[in-house]
């Protein structure tokens, strides 16, 4: 009898643990919503989302999200432009062309990249990449949107390469053999048969890469120059949503409108990444059917 109780107790604990992932997603949403509700109830939502000025400390404060939102979008767009061609090329090379031994070395190299903490890459961005770009474009300062894009594109590489590689590997062998048997060259086979078949995986890879880049905080805070202005060129300093929260939450007065506004930014970020991840997951799962 006692054993029965124990078994039931354990089963309940296991079941509850199984639900924790769902619980935490809900809790994160609830807490962000609860704190930002204070902000959104005191300001005009449209004035915030479309507001062109982020001056949280002026009198009266202005909480326009637009410069931050555009800052994030510019950096992210640039990062994808950097990461997609290189990531796709590397994934094709590693999975189709490279000899077995080289393949392992290349894969390890890319995994190493994934293991470097973002604060370290941010530092390298400040001391190596930014001065280099500054000289290259003859600018007064190297901390700008482009620096962030290159660094984040680089950081998104492991995600993009590994997902594309997986989806290339899951293309049935018979497709490839059929094309080769018809006299197509290896590259023709890759371009006309394998890549189209792997397309859902490529799309998912780009989406998850975007999700990773848009949420990246420390590196982007360190290298983009942190000016909350609406960018007109990639050679200008920008400020992303994530960087704003990281830079300002430390100094903000707890319970002030500014404090709740930063939670509002957090909610926007959470919703964006949630939608991206959900859609990417659907794309990846549809493929298997």
């Amino acid at each position: 009898m006692q054993k029965r109780y124990f078994e039931k107790l354990v089963e309940a604990a296991v079941f509850l643990s199984g639900l924790t992932a769902v619980l935490f997603v809900i809790l994160i949403f609830v807490f962000l919503f609860r704190e930002s509700a204070v902000f959104f109830s005191r300001v005009n939502i449209f004035a915030v989302l479309g507001g062109r000025n982020w001056y949280p400390l002026s009198e009266p404060p202005q909480f326009g999200f637009l410069p931050l939102l555009l800052g994030s979008l510019w950096v992210t767009f640039g990062a994808v432009v950097v990461a997609l061609p290189f990531g796709l090329a590397a994934a094709i090379y590693i999975s189709e062309v490279a000899p077995a031994r080289l393949k392992d070395i290349l894969k390890t190299g890319i995994e190493l990249l994934a293991a470097i903490p973002s604060i370290v890459l941010g530092f390298i961005g400040i001391v190596v990449l930014a001065p280099w770009l500054k000289n290259l474009f003859n600018l007064p300062c190297g901390l700008m949107a482009l620096t962030g894009s290159i660094l984040l594109g680089f950081m998104a590489m492991p995600t993009i390469v590994s997902i594309i590689e997986d989806s290339i590997a899951s293309v049935p062998r018979s497709y490839k053999e059929g094309a080769l048997a018809l006299g197509a060259t290896h590259w023709q086979t890759i371009r006309r048969v394998i890549l189209p078949a792997a397309l859902p995986g490529i799309i998912a890879a780009v989406m998850l890469g975007i999700g990773r880049v848009i949420g990246e905080t420390m590196a982007v805070l360190m290298v983009t120059g942190n000016a909350a202005i609406i960018p007109t060129s990639i050679l200008q300093p920008v400020r992303t949503l994530t960087a704003t929260v990281a830079a300002e939450m430390g100094e903000v007065v707890r319970g002030s409108l500014h404090y709740y506004a930063l939670f509002g930014i957090g909610l926007v970020l959470f919703v964006i990444t949630f939608v991206i991840n959900l859609v990417a997951d659907l794309v990846l799962h549809r493929k298997r059917v």
């Binding site: 089963e11 997603v25 990249l113 590489m157 590259w187 990281a246 430390g250 990444t273 949630f274 997951d281």
Partner: protein, 282 residues
């Protein structure tokens, strides 16, 4: 248009060049960190506190703080993650609930690190009133690490052959007895590997601990889990952006220590995986 064989040669060359263009910067980053950081690595650097406004001395409090936070993270995320994986592999049936849990895990893995920081601030620091502390930081990092541990444990549990379970059941063992005595012991290597990988990520994260645990400078080591701590990633942030004119040697030295810590964890995980794979009995 052109000879397909020549086109193929050109394209394959370009693909290789693009791959090398990714790998070379990775190698360069390691060389830069090693060359600039190694001269700083003295016993004093590792075992002394920062002095003269961070411009001299060592990183001991930050190193200890990161170790505390990482262990705290493990304490919460390991049992929870393993039990969640046990539920998904051993108890759950294919249903909408299982699918919802899977989607939640994927989404949890995609939540930006700064949003974890905000959640930790709202939930642990303010709502549970833990203050900025080792406890609040560990809890925040634990939730962030959870998806990694669940996914890795799940793979490890799934890899245990079905026949093991069937034998156990046929001997009259209950479901939990089977999980506890048969399935889990065989999945331990995979679970350890996944846990170390998850923790190595937690050890290097800055954004989640910014408002939940990290201190700019503390004169002494934390005395309880309710104290703030210094941490290596945040210390690097401080040294590189908050304090002017920190000697380059100290900056790179701190970075080298963090990178080494993270890599020792990664390499341990890789070696364990390789060793257990070789020894696998089934």
């Amino acid at each position: 248009m052109g000879n397909p064989k020549i086109i193929q040669k050109i394209v394959f060359f370009l693909l290789a060049a693009a791959t090398v263009a990714i790998i070379i910067p990775v190698a360069l980053i390691f060389i830069i960190i090693l060359v600039n950081g190694l001269p700083a690595l003295t016993p004093e650097f590792l075992f002394a506190a920062p002095r003269s406004g961070m411009k001299a001395g060592g990183i001991f409090p930050a190193l200890v703080g990161t170790i505390y936070l990482t262990l705290g993270t493990m304490l919460f995320s390991l049992p929870l993650g393993v039990l969640a994986a046990v539920y998904l592999t051993e108890y759950a049936k294919e249903s909408w609930l299982t699918r919802v849990i899977e989607v939640a895990i994927v989404n949890l893995a995609g939540v930006p690190s700064i949003v974890y920081g905000l959640f930790g601030l709202g939930a642990f620091v303010m709502f549970l009133n833990l203050g900025a502390s080792i406890l609040a930081g560990s809890l925040t990092l634990a939730i962030m690490t959870l998806p990694v541990i669940i996914t890795a444990s799940r793979e490890a549990l799934t890899a245990v052959p079905k026949s093991f379970r069937e034998v156990s059941y046929s001997l009259g063992a209950s479901r939990w007895q089977t999980v506890w005595k048969v399935v889990l012991p065989n999945a331990v290597p995979g679970i350890i590997t996944g846990t170390i990988l998850g923790l190595s990520r937690a050890a290097g994260e800055t954004a989640p601990i910014l408002f939940t645990a990290a201190a700019f400078y503390l004169p002494k080591l934390p005395q309880s889990v309710f104290d703030q701590v210094m941490a290596l990633p945040y210390h690097i942030y401080v040294l590189s952006t908050q304090v002017p004119n920190v000697p380059v040697k100290i900056q790179y030295g701190t970075i080298l220590v963090l990178v080494m810590l993270v890599f020792i964890m990664n390499i341990t995980a890789a070696v364990l995986r390789a060793r257990f794979r070789k020894r696998k009995l089934w």
